[in-house]
């Protein structure tokens, strides 16, 4: 044990000697959490919408005002002809055009029916869909108002009043969703890269051989190399949590102890992946290419904070399951924001334990083969 301590000390010395890298390792997650915490949002506000109003009557004006009043749209005062839409769309400046038919008022009054046309640039279908949904909701509101059941109070008619309660995130802030996601993403990639590279680096410079011939269990040498990065990552978790609470104003509704215990497990899991990569490769460049080119996009997509996992084909859901960030994201959401206890996240915890066990076992096995 004393020897192990000596090894760990040496590794700490290495890490702290390189001030520049250290600065990057501590500074980068902070910057990223801040930038993404504030900038990422799925809610699109103030989209420019051009209305081609062929009616120009009371009903159409009312509708336009309603749309303009919502925070989602800004009715642009650009005058546009239907035939020019294509050209404007191709320039990429505008994404939505609403066409209100002539005699809109009349149609509503007489036929009790009218249709408006929404032309969307659907080359980004996800955004187009979202905007369409916003607009549909506004139209339904308007329709309800026309039918005289908008506010409902004091009317003699039948009325079911829905009381809406927004759980966990009453102000519907995007950070509640994205911060846990980015936290999982950044921690995972940084942990994997750090371990993978430092170990391979020792292989490249040849110092690894010196360590391996020492009378010390070889795989303990590897573990000792990972310890400083565990500590470093826990420091990062701490700063990220502090920033989330004090700058991004996220709640910590659950137990901080649980959050840190789970974070430790998550980090250990990610370090395991890094160790595995480092054992399978012999050059820093390859280790980096695998941990970056290989893992960056899959981690973003499969951790579930950008795209709902339930929408994915079964095969991809399976792949997602071996990505630790996917589980950690759920854990952080549950503990920090929902304020749940261990009983709510034991499955996710178990998944992390299994992934960790898998990679450590694989590493130890491959390591022995290498020495034989």
């Amino acid at each position: 044990m004393k020897q192990f301590g000596a090894f760990v000390k040496k590794e700490f010395a290495h890490v702290f000697r390189d001030r520049r890298t250290l600065l990057i390792l501590f500074g980068m997650p902070i910057m990223q959490i801040l930038i993404f915490g504030f900038a990422l949002s799925n809610e699109i506000k103030n989209t420019q919408l051009v209305v081609i109003d062929k009616a120009k009557d009371q009903a159409s004006h009312k509708l336009i005002n309603r749309i303009d009043a919502s925070s989602y749209f800004e009715v642009s005062n650009i005058m546009l002809e239907e035939k020019d839409i294509e050209e404007v769309f191709e320039k990429g400046k505008l994404k939505l055009v609403l066409i209100i038919p002539a005699e809109f008022n009349l149609m509503l009054a007489h036929d009790k029916k009218a249709s408006v046309q929404l032309i969307a640039d659907a080359s980004d279908p996800n955004t187009a869909n979202l905007l369409k949904n916003y607009l549909a909701a506004i139209l339904q509101d308007y329709q309800a108002e026309l039918n005289g059941i908008g506010n409902g109070i004091g009317t003699e008619s039948i009325n079911i009043v829905p009381q809406t309660r927004m759980l966990y995130n009453p102000q519907l802030r995007s950070a509640h969703n994205f911060v846990p996601g980015v936290m999982a993403l950044v921690l995972m990639l940084v942990c994997v890269m750090m371990t993978a590279i430092t170990i391979v680096r020792e292989k490249e410079t040849g110092t690894m051989e010196v360590l391996l011939i020492s009378p010390f269990k070889p795989w303990l040498v590897i573990i000792a190399k990972a310890v400083p990065y565990l500590v470093l990552s826990l420091v990062n978790v701490t700063t990220i949590v502090l920033l989330s609470v004090f700058v991004l104003q996220l709640p910590v509704n659950g137990s901080l102890f649980l959050l840190f215990a789970e974070s430790t497990l998550f980090i250990i899991t990610c370090l395991g992946i890094g160790i595995f990569i480092s054992i399978k490769t012999n050059s820093q460049l390859i280790a980096m290419l695998i941990s970056l080119i290989g893992m960056l996009l899959p981690t973003i997509l499969f951790s579930g904070f950008m795209f709902p996992l339930e929408n994915m084909p079964a095969v991809l859901q399976w792949i997602a399951n071996i990505i630790p960030a996917r589980w950690y994201y759920v854990i952080v959401k549950s503990v920090m924001i929902k304020g749940l206890g261990f009983s709510a996240i034991y499955l996710e915890t178990l998944a992390l334990v299994v992934i960790a066990a898998f990679f450590y076992a694989l590493s130890i096995k491959n390591f022995k083969v290498r020495l034989a």
């Binding site: 799925n42 769309f89 080359s123 979202l130 890269m193 290419l289 960056l296 996009l297 795209f307």
Partner: protein, 372 residues
């Protein structure tokens, strides 16, 4: 000029010899392009609803079947207690709870009025918002139909309905793949170009061969060009493979001119590679270069407008987007591949990216010091 040829020959030979690297930089993008676009669907479908019906009346059952009949919701659970349903929200198995109080029908008949509770998991704000507004509107319509039934004899009053007719241009089926495939390809080209360029010069620094170059009379600009061109070629190869794959696998054929598309990629690669080279001139070790490059690439990717719309970002993030090359390539791909925009439409994009390429590369040349 002849010196440049020697430098190029050397770089190409080294790349060719590094089979493990070539396998990764060709293989990884292919794999990811085949898998990832399938994961990038965030259309909001299957909103899971848990219903707690404490009334068990005709009205309450009618309301529930109207909601389920709307097609927006999937019944996750029916008739457990609110507490049990809340557990479903905690485990992300339900997104909304609708609780119908006891005496619902009685109250509606006697007092014309009652409340129902809609509780929403609001961590993912968009889903919460849209789910809640769908549900509210369905309830409003149900009100309406109830009312019609009661007052029907009076005037034969028909409810007003406004129809929203949707035209989704450029992507009428709202197929998110036709948007995501080119987007993911753009990201892959960016990641590969950026990292290879960033790591290459530092790698020579770490191995020590750069000293031998620095002590020769070779011109700095040639040296940088010698590093730039091979990776530029690789970038083009990766892009071309990706384009062919998107055609074969996803049936995506650029609507616009291929030459226009390539001319953008040509300058774009220069810009991305320039950034990588610039970073590598500032770094001492591959580790540093990789982390710094990781930092930038992460920001570029997450704020590039592929995963979340740039329109949804706060003002300062929109400014970042303006100096973010990824936001331009996403935009241009969308324009050329989906909308068939021409050279004139993307001229501003090409202009800005060319400026970036020029700036970054001359900065890299300036900052690469043969004498320390």
């Amino acid at each position: 000029m002849r010196t440049l040829l020697f430098l190029l020959q050397k770089e190409f030979k080294q790349i060719y010899r590094y089979k493990a690297m070539v396998r990764i930089i060709i293989g990884m993008p292919i794999m990811q392009l085949l898998l990832l676009p399938l994961a990038a669907d965030y259309e909001i479908k299957n909103i899971n609803l848990a219903v707690v019906d404490n009334d068990h009346s005709t009205y309450s059952q009618q309301l529930v079947s109207t909601i389920i009949g709307s097609g927006y919701f999937r019944l996750a659970e029916y008739n457990q207690s609110y507490k049990k349903s809340l557990k479903l929200i905690e485990s992300d198995k339900a997104d909304l709870i609708l609780e119908i109080p006891e005496g619902f029908e009685r109250n509606l008949v006697r007092e014309n009025k009652d409340q129902v509770l809609v509780a929403v998991n609001a961590i993912n704000g968009t889903k919460a918002n849209i789910g809640a507004s769908y549900l509210n509107n369905i309830i409003k319509n149900y009100n309406q139909s109830l009312r019609m039934k009661l007052v029907t004899s009076n005037q034969g009053n028909q409810a007003i309905a406004i129809d929203l007719v949707n035209s989704n241009w450029y992507n009428p089926e709202m197929d998110y793949k036709s948007f995501m495939v080119p987007g993911i390809l753009a990201l892959l080209v960016t990641i590969i170009g950026g990292f290879l360029a960033a790591l290459n010069i530092v790698r020579e620094k770490e191995i020590g061969t750069i000293e031998q170059i620095n002590v020769t009379p070779v011109r700095k600009s040639y040296f940088i060009l010698g590093k730039l061109i091979p990776f530029w070629v690789i970038g083009n190869v990766v892009f071309t493979i990706g384009l062919v794959l998107s055609w074969l696998v996803y049936g995506i054929v650029p609507a616009g001119n291929l030459l226009v598309l390539y001319s953008f990629i040509w300058v774009y690669l220069l810009a991305v590679l320039g950034l990588g080279l610039l970073i590598s001139t500032y770094c001492e070790t591959q580790q540093q270069a990789m982390f710094i490059n990781f930092f930038f690439i992460m920001i570029f990717i997450l704020l590039g407008g592929l995963f979340t719309s740039i329109d949804s970002m706060p003002g300062w993030a929109k400014i970042i987007a303006r100096i973010n090359p990824v936001s331009y390539i996403i935009d241009v791909f969308r324009m050329i591949i989906l909308k068939g925009s021409g050279f004139k439409d993307i001229l501003p994009h090409i202009g800005i990216i060319s400026f970036m390429a020029l700036l970054l590369n001359s900065w890299a040349i300036k900052n690469y010091r043969k004498t320390s």
